[in-house]
């Protein structure tokens, strides 16, 4: 088996591309990222590793980035690979605007990024990108919000809510149990609740960005996140108390 994981272009006898699977492992070790689609809002949240004492976190690169005015991206996995993909995607967004005089749709740019990731699974001497992306945005004309995910194999799919990176299975389970159509602040709360399942609570461990049709991407301040986390904890405590309360009376 080990002989078939050297070069990317080689299938193993049982039909695996080992390099792609190892890339997926790299994603599984990356920081958690969650995306939730509402009716008028789409939210991305990522786990933030606490910064080292000497690190200047004001100037450090944000993890949720703009690809265009109406499209944003978060990823889990090798962040250095992410820079390359994000750069190519940004160029493609502007190139598309130049040649067809239209902004890209979310599906188009997702297809482009997935296509890039796939190319690197079928070339000699290169390795796949070690990251999965969550892409959010609004269709420039219909105004419909979308959330897409791509992975190192180059597949992509649309989601109502999804997570990738560390403990993504637990987050996805939580989302499957608790997802419902939301809008505005409720969508933000749902995304943060999902992320809090696996991340220590607190604004300094989470980075959240909200995209709306009219205002584009807005990164939430740490204080704002802390406020919403406090709301969520209060709701949780109230729910716990409600559960215990009637039982004690009986």
């Amino acid at each position: 088996m080990a002989r078939y994981d050297r070069a990317i272009t080689v299938f193993s006898p049982d039909g695996h591309l080992f390099q792609v699977e190892y890339a997926l492992e790299a994603v599984r070790k990356g920081n958690a990222a969650v995306g939730v689609r509402g009716t008028d809002t789409v939210v991305l949240g990522v786990e933030k590793k606490s910064a080292a004492k000497l690190q200047d976190s004001r100037l450090s690169v944000r993890k949720i980035v703009n690809l265009d005015n109406h499209i944003a991206l978060a990823c889990a996995g090798l962040k250095a690979d992410a820079r390359v993909l994000i750069n190519r995607a940004r160029i493609e967004c502007q190139s598309h605007r130049l040649t067809v005089e239209d902004p890209v749709t979310v599906e188009y740019i997702t297809r482009y990024i997935a296509g890039l990731q796939q190319k690197y699974t079928q070339s000699g001497g290169v390795r796949p990108f070690g990251l999965s992306t969550l892409i959010i945005g609004f269709d420039p004309y219909t105004g419909v919000p979308s959330l897409y995910q791509t992975d190192p194999s180059g597949t992509f799919s649309a989601w109502k809510a999804n997570a990738t990176g560390r403990n993504s299975n637990s987050i996805r389970e939580f989302l499957e149990k608790n997802y419902k159509e939301t809008s505005g602040q409720e969508t933000i709360k749902l995304a943060i609740r999902a992320l809090l399942e696996v991340v220590e609570s607190g604004g300094k461990n989470i980075e959240v960005a909200v995209m709306t049709k009219d205002q584009g991407l807005r990164q939430l301040e740490e204080s704002e996140i802390d406020g919403i986390v406090a709301e969520i904890e209060a709701e949780k405590a109230a729910a716990e108390a409600a559960k215990k309360g009637p039982a004690r009376d009986a």
Binding site: N87, Q94, R97
Partner: protein, 154 residues
């Protein structure tokens, strides 16, 4: 040249936008002007763009600035500029009436004087003019000076 103008300026527009996404801050006017000049210069000895550009921009610390960029990649920061057949008339008018620290109203008045000169002196004067303003609130159309309205039936 009409074709060059559209192609070239749209190309510059998209590259300016790309810079903003890549770097998180907009290009300064000076940087955008230098980039434009660089593109013209690179193309000059292969496939020159026949485009003259007056680039106006507003930066928070510097205020407004105007750059004169001609088709052979001359770049100059100016207070007033003009291109085309009517440029001599406009430049003469501006030399006479311009002073630093003009208000918006005074500036529009000077523009109108230039338009009047073009209309009366130039044999091949264009019938319509659009006036745009660039300031801290961005770039916007301010007014039209039309002597031939667009044909309703056309």
């Amino acid at each position: 040249e009409i074709g060059c103008r559209v192609q070239f300026t749209e190309y510059i527009q998209k590259n300016v936008a790309l810079y903003q996404f890549r770097n998180g801050i907009p290009l300064t006017t000076a940087a955008a002007a230098n980039f434009t000049r660089g593109e013209l210069a690179t193309a000059l000895r292969k496939n020159p763009y026949q485009v003259n550009v007056l680039m106006a921009g507003y930066d928070k610390e510097i205020g407004p600035s105007l750059y004169y960029i001609d088709y052979i990649a001359t770049l100059h920061k100016v207070d007033r500029g003009a291109f085309g057949y009517g440029s001599y008339f406009c430049l003469a008018m501006m030399d006479r009436h311009y002073h630093s620290g003009m208000t918006v109203e005074e500036a529009i008045d000077l523009v109108d004087k230039c338009i009047l000169e073009i209309r009366s002196r130039l044999v091949v004067a264009p019938p319509n003019f659009v006036i745009k303003i660039v300031d801290k609130d961005g770039a916007r159309e301010y007014a039209w000076r039309e002597s031939v309205k667009p044909d309703a039936t056309a």
